[in-house]
């Protein structure tokens, strides 16, 4: 199966700083890929490159088997790549439906006034369709739980045609119950055919939902496409820390000379 997005040998430097040396990644439709790595491993830079914020210094990216190069985040978004950042791209003081349509508001002819009624209706319907029940689309996002906010951010991305959703540390600030809710929601989204790149620190959360594991360390992809159910949480941690290599994991002796 052709992956929805494939990244090969991508590198990026900022001045003299080599943020990414060699990154590889692939994610297919209906698949959850966990991107693991310590702080400074290059995860966020890689995400920003996929998002179109930065261009790669070298290397290639493909979407549906076609080479791609995004000049701006808007281009990436048009191609169906949405990111749910840590702040979720949600404004706490604004209502759910205004957040849902933020930057993409619906207007009415002929004066271009906002079509609040239609936005409210579409927001409620679309979220319900994705399995997210909101009490009142007028409610401020700040009143919702962390899990609810996360779901709305992902639901919004899906509604606006995302085929690949990148979740940046979605569970980092959540309670156990809220985390369960978000993980369940990720599983449901996968069932609808969405490709999901799940960037996290938390091995247990990755283990719970990821089909494939990719690990970055010091700007390099050190493990790619490991089947999620064949790696333990403990092994994931050692891969991230660098105390275990993929070759060791596969049970082969390391090649001499390294």
């Amino acid at each position: 199966m052709t992956p929805l997005l494939e990244v090969r040998n991508v590198a990026r430097q900022f001045g003299h700083v080599q943020a990414i040396r060699r990154a590889n990644l692939a994610v297919a439709a209906g698949q959850v890929v966990a991107l693991l790595g310590d702080n400074g491993a290059g995860k966020s830079t890689l995400v920003k490159i996929i998002q179109g914020y930065h261009a790669p210094s070298s290397g290639t990216m493909w979407m549906d088997g076609q080479p791609i190069r995004f000049a701006s985040p808007a281009e990436a978004r048009d191609a169906g790549i949405e990111t749910v950042p840590q702040d979720l791209g949600l404004v706490p003081l604004l209502s759910i439906y205004r957040n849902f349509f933020l930057g993409r508001e619906l207007t009415r002819k002929p004066f271009g006034f906002l079509d609040h009624r239609r936005m409210r209706a579409i927001c409620t319907r679309s979220l319900a369709h994705l399995g997210i029940q909101v009490r009142d689309p007028n409610e401020a996002v700040g009143n919702l739980s962390g899990g609810e906010r996360q779901s709305i951010a992902i639901g919004r991305a899906e509604h606006f045609g995302a085929r690949l959703v990148m979740l940046d540390e979605p569970t980092s600030a959540l309670s156990v119950k809220q985390t369960r809710m978000v993980l369940d929601y990720i599983v449901e989204a996968r069932a609808r055919g969405l490709a999901i790149l799940f960037i996290t620190h938390n091995m247990a959360h990755a283990h719970a939902v990821a089909d494939r594991i990719t690990v970055m360390r010091q700007g390099r992809t050190v493990a790619e496409d490991l089947p999620g159910d064949e790696v333990t949480v403990e092994e994931m941690g050692r891969l991230v820390m660098g105390t275990l290599t993929v070759d060791q994991l596969a049970g082969r002796p390391p090649p001499a000379g390294i």
Binding site: P85, L88, P92, L94, L114, D136, G142
Partner: protein
């Protein structure tokens, strides 16, 4: 379920930022209507609208800018300087339309300058515009020479901006004020720009993520504020025919007070132009009503201060956890 219905009702109320201002407005209005003789007379009502107009016009700009997460303390000085520009162009014999154009070109320059200092130099707008206020005041003192400067030919422009439109004393500036309230209420609630202003002030990072040009929105908000301050300066000038070095002094804080009574948060992202209308009206009502009741008018400023505090308490308690 009654409890649920009540909760739902309160929940809905919370989403209206003008709730504190409307409550205070009704309370103060009811109080004076019952107790202050002649409070409901046409001339008294017109007077209150006139009183609210100049500071209220400045406050509309303050509201938009505060929602965008910034302040402008230079608006009072801008009022005086813009009026001075109009006087100079007009007294030099240029037609009123040209003088008006020149005044707004000047206001645009002030707005842009404020925006550039705040956004480029990354100085807090409170500090940057405090500095601009002091610079502007100093320029105005030097330019006016500290004395009263007259508009030679008030003409139709003055009549259009502040002429009397009703025997009760109602003036054009009250009409302009209400029109501006409606226009900017629509801009803030019914236009994409307004939505962007709320997002930019509420959470700039999220706004940026969603493709909103944060810097551009703030520049426009600074421009709107400067334009409205300039127009308020023209109202003042048209109303009394002259200005002096102190014209507009203190309006920057009165405008912020009206915006805050109207529901605006100092931290940005929240506020209402409609609320500001009530905020500006309440101050004028207190001043007017106290005198009609025969109280010492020197209490007015203090009472307006209390109204400010109570309104904000109402706003905060109804808004609940949203602000935290």
């Amino acid at each position: 379920m009654q409890g649920d219905a009540r909760k739902h009702f309160l929940g809905r109320l919370r989403t209206y930022p003008e709730i504190g201002a409307v409550t205070m407005f009704l309370a103060v209005f009811g109080f004076f209507a019952l107790l202050a003789p002649n409070f409901l007379s046409l001339s008294s009502l017109s007077g209150m609208l006139n009183l609210a107009s100049v500071v209220g016009t400045v406050a509309i700009g303050a509201t938009v800018l505060m929602v965008a997460g910034e302040f402008d303390l230079s608006v009072g000085a801008t009022m005086g300087l813009a009026a001075m520009v109009f006087i100079q162009l007009s007294n030099a014999g240029l037609p009123p339309v040209v003088a008006l154009g020149g005044t707004f070109v000047f206001a645009s320059a002030v707005g842009l300058l404020n925006a550039v200092v705040v956004l480029r130099a990354r100085i807090s707008s409170f500090i940057a515009t405090l500095g601009m206020m002091m610079v502007g005041r100093s320029l105005l003192v030097l330019w006016t020479g500290g004395s009263i400067v007259r508009l030679d030919e008030p003409g139709w422009m003055a009549a259009l901006v502040a002429g009397r439109i009703h025997p009760s004393g109602l003036r054009m500036m009250a009409l302009w004020f209400v029109v501006l309230i409606v226009v900017f209420h629509v801009v803030m609630t019914q236009r994409r720009f307004g939505n962007a202003v709320y997002a930019v002030g509420g959470k700039p990072s999220a706004a940026r993520t969603m493709g909103i040009q944060v810097g551009r929105v703030k520049v426009v908000a600074f421009l709107i504020t400067a334009w409205l301050a300039a127009f308020a300066g023209l109202m003042q000038l048209s109303r009394i025919g002259s200005i002096n070095a102190l014209t507009g002094e203190g309006f920057e804080l009165q405008a912020i007070a009206a915006a805050v009574v109207g529901g605006a948060l100092l931290t940005g992202g929240y506020g209402s132009v409609l609320g500001t209308l009530f905020g500006a009206l309440v101050a004028g009502m207190v001043r007017n009503g106290l005198i009609l009741m025969g109280f010492d008018s020197r209490l007015a400023t203090g009472l307006i201060g209390l109204v400010l505090i109570v309104a904000v308490i109402i706003n905060t308690s109804l808004r609940g956890e949203q602000t935290s």
